[in-house]
Symmetry: C2
């Protein structure tokens, strides 16, 4: 960030009065430009004993399988965003469970929070959107575990199949930390039931 | 938004190729400036049968009582942000419950998502930070209900005192919608248990 959105003057990175973090500040009009994490919202669409996955048609992880998800937009709720992304990426119409919020992932290294909601497919008339090569249903034993696009998707699927055995789906919160060896540790730090 | 952060050229509001929403786009360097919802993260700090509230020293709602909360920052998790805000606004040290995520509020009109976590005060050495006039503990019957700063805070407190009777604290998700009469309707749309 080099120039002010409002007056095109140069911005400087410095700590504003009363703050303790460097911010981009316009030295002309004094506007402070904050940068904050973004939410990525998606669903885990279920039909009978199968879940819906999308094969990505875009980078990153082109050709890998994912749950439908994308950036939450201004003017919508997290759940509305998740339903919208499911329609856009999988052409799928869903019914959302009353207690649909399922996983929350903090990804502080990339300034994102992922929220996944459980949902039921209303019909089988799904089809790939522009960002998907293919959309398909998978039973647990059919999941392409080595071809899952993102650790947050793999973790959500793993917990879903575990939780399905008890038919209880506690809300689960995780921190995703990238280790120095680039392996990814997903740590369960909060859930709504005691195990 | 009038000028590009990167090259100071004028930006235009138009729908990019492959998108369906207007974005601010630099016609010179083609950067698209997305604007997305922000997360506000906070805690509900408990000590014995009392909860901690802060009297606001800043607008909006100067002089009204609130739970410690503020914008989630880049580089932190939602829970780290909530703990940081509790230290900054109330000078309070807390222990966070294992199943601490408690309420999630979607506020699509103002492009915010609120997340509150339940916590326990570790000691009584709290003191107002720069953004608070006063910090105090309240029993349920002492809560200044007519002087609560924000509907999301009032709702979180109301559900906490209800849930405390059963000693179960399901994760609750709400949409906050401003009606045309400026009254605010808070609708429970998701929780992790069936009532």
């Amino acid at each position: 960030m080099k120039y002010c959105h409002h007056c095109a003057s140069p911005v400087q990175l410095r700590i504003p009065d009363g703050d303790d973090k460097p911010r981009h500040i316009c030295e002309n009009c004094e506007t402070v430009f904050y940068q904050n994490p973004n939410n990525v919202v998606g669903t885990l669409p279920v039909f009978e004993d199968k879940v819906l996955l999308c094969k990505r048609a875009i980078e990153p992880r082109l050709g890998k399988w994912t749950l439908p998800a994308g950036f939450m937009e201004n003017g919508e709720t997290s759940l509305e965003g998740a339903i919208r992304e499911t329609a856009e990426e999988a052409g799928a119409r869903i019914r959302v469970f009353q207690d649909s919020l399922y996983t929350l992932f903090n990804l502080p290294r990339i300034n994102q929070v992922y929220l996944f909601f459980r949902a039921e497919l209303l019909d089988l008339n799904f089809e790939p959107g522009l960002e998907s090569q293919e959309v398909a249903l998978f039973r647990e034993q059919e999941i392409p575990w080595d071809e899952i696009a993102f650790p947050v998707v793999k973790s959500t699927l793993e917990h879903f199949f575990q939780d399905r055995q008890q038919e209880t789906f506690p809300v689960r919160m995780f921190d995703v930390v990238h280790g120095t060896d680039r392996s990814i540790t997903t740590t369960l730090i909060s859930h709504s039931h005691q195990d």
